[in-house]
C-alpha cells in the first residue's frame, strides 16, 4: 500500500505479475493539485491513470480551512455572522440562513413576516446568481468561454441589485437573528422584477449557446453518472441528488421562512436528454432551478406584506438561552444545516456547520474510476464545489 503524503493508493498492479506474459506496465501518479484551472479553488486530487483512463482519484481537502467553527464559538452571536458568509462565497445569503434558522429555532425568536419574505427574495436572487456562475463555469471547463461571459452579464446586474440592499457584492451580512438589517425601496422592487424578466428572457439564449450545443452534449451526456444510491450513501444533496431522480428539496419538504406561501415546481430526475444522474442532467437541473427561483422572486415581491423588518429584542449583545437545534435549509449547492448548541453564554457553545460541498466532493473517488481525464473534469465541474464551505 503506497501512501504518498497520507494518501493511500491501491497497488493492485504492483503485486506479483499475474499475467501470462511478464508485461508489467506502470501507471502515472500525479497531482491535479491546489492550483489548477478546473478544480474550482484549492482542491487537490491525486490521480492514478494509465495515460488517459483514471484508475483512482483521491481528493484531498483542507487547503482553505479557515477555522469557522472555532471562531463562531469565540465571538458573540452577532459578530460571528460574517464568518458564515465566507463559507460558500457564491451563495453567501443562504449560508447565513443556515446559521440563523437554527439559532432562531433554539432561542424561539419570532421573525416578522416581511423579514421572512425579504429573506426569501434575496436568497433566491443569490441562488440564481450562484447557479449562473456554476453553469458558466461548467461551460468554461468544457471549453466554451462565451456562455460564461453571457451569464456573467446577468450575474453582474444581480450583484448590483444585492449591493443596493445589503451593501456588499459578494458577502452581505444582511440577515440577522430575528430579521434583516435593511428594508427595500419600491424602486428596488421594480428593478428586481425587471432583472427577473431579463434573466428569464435570456434563458433560451443560454440553452442554445451551451446546454444544447452539440459538442457540450457529446462531452457531458452519459458521462460521470452519479446514481441515486451513490448520492444518498455519500450524503450528496442539492442539484446532484435531484438530478439523480430524488425529489428532495428542503424548500418543499421541510418549508422554512414562508416558503410554503409560494408555488413553484421542483425539477427532478432525467430531463429531456441524457441518462439520469449524468453531468448534463446536473447542468440542466441548475438552469431549471433558475427559472423556478425567478418565479419565487416575482411572487414574493408581489405578496410582500407590510411591517417592520427586524425583531427589536435582538440587540448587539443578544444571547441565546440554553438549548439546541438542528435546522437545514436549501443552499445552491446542497443542504446547509447547523447543529447549534447554546449554554446561555455570550457565544454559541457549539455551532457545527454542514457544508454541502464537503459531502459532494467525497463521492469523487468512487464515481471517477474508469473515467477519462476529460470526463473527470466534467464530473468535477458538474458537481459544482466551492472549497470555502467544504473546508469551513
Amino acid at each position: 500500500m503506497t501512501t504518498i503524503q497520507g494518501v493511500r493508493l491501491d497497488e493492485g498492479e504492483r503485486a506479483a505479475p499475474t499475467l501470462p506474459r511478464d508485461i508489467l506496465t506502470e501507471e502515472l501518479v500525479f497531482n491535479m493539485g491546489p492550483q489548477h484551472p478546473s478544480t474550482h479553488g484549492v482542491l487537490r486530487v491525486v490521480l492514478r491513470t494509465d495515460g488517459e483512463v483514471v484508475r483512482e482519484a483521491q481528493p484531498l481537502i483542507g487547503n482553505l480551512h479557515r477555522c469557522c467553527e472555532k471562531i463562531l464559538e469565540s465571538l458573540t452571536y452577532v459578530q460571528g455572522l460574517p464568518y458564515v458568509d465566507r463559507m460558500d462565497y457564491l451563495g453567501a445569503l443562504n449560508m447565513e440562513m443556515g446559521l440563523v434558522l437554527s439559532v432562531e429555532k433554539a432561542a424561539a425568536v419570532e421573525v416578522p413576516k416581511r423579514a421572512q419574505y425579504l429573506r426569501v427574495i434575496l436568497c433566491e436572487i443569490n441562488r440564481v446568481i450562484s447557479h449562473l456562475f456554476a453553469a458558466g463555469q461548467f461551460g468554461l471547463d468544457m471549453g466554451a468561454f462565451t456562455p460564461f461571459l453571457y451569464m456573467f452579464r446577468e450575474r453582474e446586474e444581480g450583484l448590483t441589485l444585492l449591493n443596493e440592499v445589503t451593501g456588499g457584492r459578494l458577502l452581505y451580512h444582511y440577515i440577522r437573528y430575528g430579521g434583516v438589517t435593511r428594508d427595500v425601496s419600491d424602486d428596488w422592487k421594480r428593478k428586481c422584477i425587471a432583472w427577473c424578466d431579463q434573466v428569464a428572457a435570456h434563458m433560451d439564449e443560454y440553452n442554445n449557446l451551451l446546454t444544447y450545443n452539440h459538442i457540450f452534449l457529446n462531452r457531458t451526456v452519459g458521462v460521470a453518472i452519479i446514481d441515486r444510491e451513490t448520492a444518498l450513501r455519500y450524503g450528496a444533496t442539492g442539484p446532484i441528488l435531484r438530478a439523480a431522480g430524488v425529489p428532495r428539496d428542503l424548500r418543499k419538504d421541510m418549508p422554512y421562512s414562508c416558503y410554503e406561501d409560494f408555488d413553484f415546481k421542483v425539477p427532478v430526475g432525467p430531463h429531456d436528454k441524457g441518462v439520469v444522474g449524468d453531468s448534463w442532467n446536473r447542468h440542466r437541473q441548475r438552469l431549471l432551478e433558475i427559472e423556478e427561483s425567478l418565479k419565487i422572486i416575482r411572487q414574493a415581491i408581489t405578496k410582500l406584506p407590510a411591517g417592520d423588518v427586524s425583531n427589536p429584542k435582538v440587540t448587539r449583545g443578544w444571547k441565546a438561552p440554553e438549548g439546541e437545534a438542528y435546522v437545514a435549509s436549501e443552499a445552491p449547492r446542497g443542504e446547509i444545516s447547523c447543529y447549534f448548541v447554546s449554554d446561555g453564554g455570550k457565544a454559541p457553545y457549539r455551532a457545527r456547520m454542514r457544508g454541502p460541498s464537503f459531502y459532494n466532493i467525497s463521492l469523487l473517488s468512487e464515481t471517477s474510476r474508469g473515467l477519462l481525464i476529460g470526463d473527470l473534469i466534467a464530473l468535477m465541474g458538474s458537481i459544482d464545489i466551492t472549497l470555502g464551505e467544504c473546508d469551513r
Partner: protein
Amino acid sequence: MTPAEALRSALPDAVEEATDAFVRVKAEKVVEAARVLREKCGAEMLHQISGVDRPPDKMEVVYHFARLKPAAFLCLKVSVPRSNPVVPTLANEWASANWGERETWDLLGIRFSGHPHPYRILLPEDWEGHPLRKDYAYPVEYHGVDCVE
C-alpha cells in the same frame, strides 16, 4: 415509528436516554442503532456528524440522519469519556461517515475505531492538538511561519 420506540424495542439495553428530539445510545452499540434507524425508521442518509466537547469529563458525538419521506431529521447521540474518546465507526455502511468522522477526529480528537483511513482531513498531517477542544492552545509557529504577529 419514532426512533425512540424503534431503538427501545430493537436494542433495549443500548438506549440510555430517549427524548422526542434525540436518542442517546451506548458508544459500542452505535452501529446497530444506525442499522435500526435505517431499517425501521427509514433513515436514508447520514446528514451530519458533529462532535461536542463537554469538559471536564465528557465528549459527545451527535449523528443526524435524514429521512426523505416524510422529510425529518433523526438524531442519535453518543457520549464518551473525555480522557479516551473512542467510538466505533459507521464508515463501512454509511459512506458519508468516512469524511465526517475524519473531520471529527481532526478537529476534536475523538477516535473512530475501525475507520479505513484514520488520517487528518482538514489540518496538515503534522499539526499538533485538536482545535475545537475548549482547552486548545493556539500555536505560536508552524513550519517557520509565525502564527501570531
